[in-house]
């Protein structure tokens, strides 16, 4: 019975069976574990019916819509991927949105500066590297604040939110930075057999992050730290170095999101990630992670990010006033947390929080 688990689930997320659990309960839990994907399916069905009823069109069978939703989901998904790691460890990273903006501006400047000497391709490569590396700097500071100086993650990263925002606007001169590099524009808007390049890049990156979380010691220690820091420390895990790596990783995810944003719009903007700040936390929570730490998966976060993207795009598509997006996403977040609480009660396990 103990065959090696498939990459789709970490040991901690095999549907847990309490001592007294009947089969029905474990089925319920299995459904609860997949709730984000069920949400997604239900949402798509609603918009499909809505579109057919109101103007006889199709929502999801239209490849343009699917591509748009996928492109729309790239940036929030990349931020949410980093955020998933941080939230599982019991922390939160509020600075990701503006780290993304910072990376967008820096990569735009870098590509403009490098293209004349290095050419189109190497200019873009330099822009990617410098953008992600510069994004790592606020990550290092976040990590040092949280791990060495014991600053609560909420406050430390809130401070970095302001710093990254200011630096990004200063570097951008208060405006957007247009990029003149046709190769960069091609990455941002080109397609491979109909699939946008940036979606492919994001998908590959997310698969790597899934591997990191579910199959490596780093990921395993991340779950342990989120559940019981004391236990992790006593087991010999170096908490300080883990937290430092963790915040650098989440900042690098935001950095990649920023560079892809610049590619898509052919310009870097400091406010690129502003609306995504809370969307990425929402995606993680909708995806089944607990803000108390110790649980969550990349698989769930992907669904969470898609749920938000489908709501936002779908409401525009069926021509509802955009303000309904806020309401819908808010309601979905609350429902997700309620389901999470109910699931904990079902599982019968003790919950110390």
């Amino acid at each position: 019975m103990t065959s090696v688990s498939t990459p789709s689930g970490t040991a901690s997320h095999k549907a847990p069976q309490a001592d007294h659990a009947a089969q029905t309960k474990s089925l319920l839990q299995r459904i609860a574990d997949l709730r984000a994907w069920l949400f997604l399916a239900a949402l798509i069905a609603v918009f499909e019916i809505w579109a057919r009823a109101s103007f006889g069109g199709t929502f999801i069978l239209n490849s343009f819509n699917v591509q748009s939703i996928a492109i729309f989901a790239v940036a929030p998904l990349l931020l949410a991927t980093g955020q998933t790691f941080v939230i599982i460890s019991g922390g939160i990273d509020l600075s990701l949105g503006f780290i993304m903006g910072l990376a967008a501006v820096v990569s735009a400047h870098t590509i403009n500066a490098l293209t004349p000497t290095l050419g189109l391709e190497f200019g873009v490569l330099g822009g990617f590297l410098v953008g992600v590396l510069v994004a790592g700097v606020p990550g290092i500071i976040n990590g040092l604040l949280v791990s060495r100086l014991k600053v609560p993650p909420f406050i430390g990263t809130l401070g970095m939110f302001g710093v990254a925002r200011g630096v990004a606007f200063l570097l951008a001169g208060g405006t957007t930075v247009p990029v003149s590099n046709s190769f960069f524009a091609a990455i941002g808007n080109g397609r491979f057999y109909g699939i946008p390049y940036i979606v492919i890049i994001a998908a590959i990156f997310v698969v790597i992050m899934h591997y990191l979380l579910s199959q490596t010691r780093f990921g395993q220690h991340n779950y342990a730290i989120g559940a019981n820091v004391q236990a992790a420390r006593r087991a010999g895990i170096d908490i300080k170095s883990h937290l430092l790596k963790l915040y650098i990783l989440s900042a690098a995810c935001a950095g990649l999101g920023g560079v892809l944003y610049s590619a898509r719009f052919n310009a870097g903007a400091a406010q690129a990630g502003e609306p995504l700040l809370l969307d990425c936390v929402a995606a993680v929570v909708i995806g089944g992670a607990s803000l108390f730490g110790g649980s969550g998966t990349i698989f769930g976060t992907v669904a969470g990010a898609l749920v938000i993207a489908v709501i936002q795009y779908g409401l525009v598509f069926v021509n509802v006033e955009p303000f309904w997006q806020f309401i819908s996403v808010g309601v979905v977040i609350i429902i997700s947390v309620l389901i999470d609480q109910a699931q904990r009660r079902f599982s019968g396990g003790r919950q110390d929080e």
Partner: protein, 249 residues
């Protein structure tokens, strides 16, 4: 005391001072293989200082610790653990969201290669080790994929002990192992301690519960204000005498 066998652990004239405070002063004890030594004493008597000094959390101000005859000087708890001294805390140092196997291997997870090149966690090895170790402690668990939060307090304590056993700890320091448990579970832990004893391990057992102490220990050392107030064989003492030693009557 039986002086003919090599003691597992020998502590001689150990002192630990914090500034002017003598938390532990000139303390000596020995533990033979298969022996359970109880430490008793009021709060602040120096029990915690003693176990933290033995397990490498504190460095002694003076004195010597010998492990199987070899002097040791631990810089970190990890060094003590590597040498086979494992501490089991009353508040169950487990990650509740992980499986028994993952808890046993926490911090030293086994890896294997998937597709011949990609390093991944060896969950099968962890699950197998969990099953074997728990069976060794006479806990037969089938749900190796379940997080430990799904198990009862006694089973969780068994997991903590199982981790020490798997890593072949020779000395187990158990700090109030029954404090957080119900009565039936306390009995189970007492049974476990008997089993560890039968396997030839040495156990330092700290408890406020004299009944538990008398149920499992061979000897009892009573501490008072950092010094040994008395050492007795369990077979030759009574509850009353131990209480008198503790309060200094």
């Amino acid at each position: 005391m039986n002086n003919s066998v090599q003691p597992l652990l020998e502590v001689s004239n150990l002192s630990k001072h914090f500034g002017a405070i003598r938390a532990l002063d000139d303390f000596s004890m020995r533990i033979n293989p298969g022996e359970v030594v109880a430490l008793a004493g009021d709060n602040g008597a120096g029990k915690t200082t003693l176990i933290k000094t033995i397990s490498g959390v504190f460095r002694p101000t003076a004195g010597e610790i010998k492990l199987k005859g070899q002097p040791v000087d631990f810089q970190t708890p990890q060094e003590a653990r590597d040498k086979g001294i494992e501490t089991i805390y009353q508040d169950l140092a487990l990650a509740d969201n992980l499986t028994i196997g993952a808890n046993i291997f926490l911090g030293r997870e086994p890896m294997k290669k998937a597709f011949g090149f990609l390093p991944v966690l060896d969950r099968k090895k962890m699950a197998d080790a969990a099953r074997d170790t728990m069976a060794l402690l006479d806990f037969h668990v089938s749900r190796l994929e379940a997080p430990v939060s799904n198990f009862s307090g006694g089973q969780r304590q068994a997991v903590a002990i199982g981790r020490a056993v798997y890593w072949d700890a020779q000395i187990l320091i158990m700090d109030e192992p029954t404090a957080a448990l119900g009565v039936p579970e306390q009995r189970k832990v007492i049974q476990l301690i008997h089993q560890l004893k039968a396997q030839g391990r040495g156990i330092i057992f700290i408890s406020h519960n004299l009944q538990d102490i008398f149920a499992v220990s061979d000897r009892i050392i009573v501490l008072r204000r950092g010094v040994t107030a008395g050492e007795r064989k369990i077979s030759e003492t009574t509850h009353d005498e131990v209480v008198k030693l503790m309060v200094g009557g």
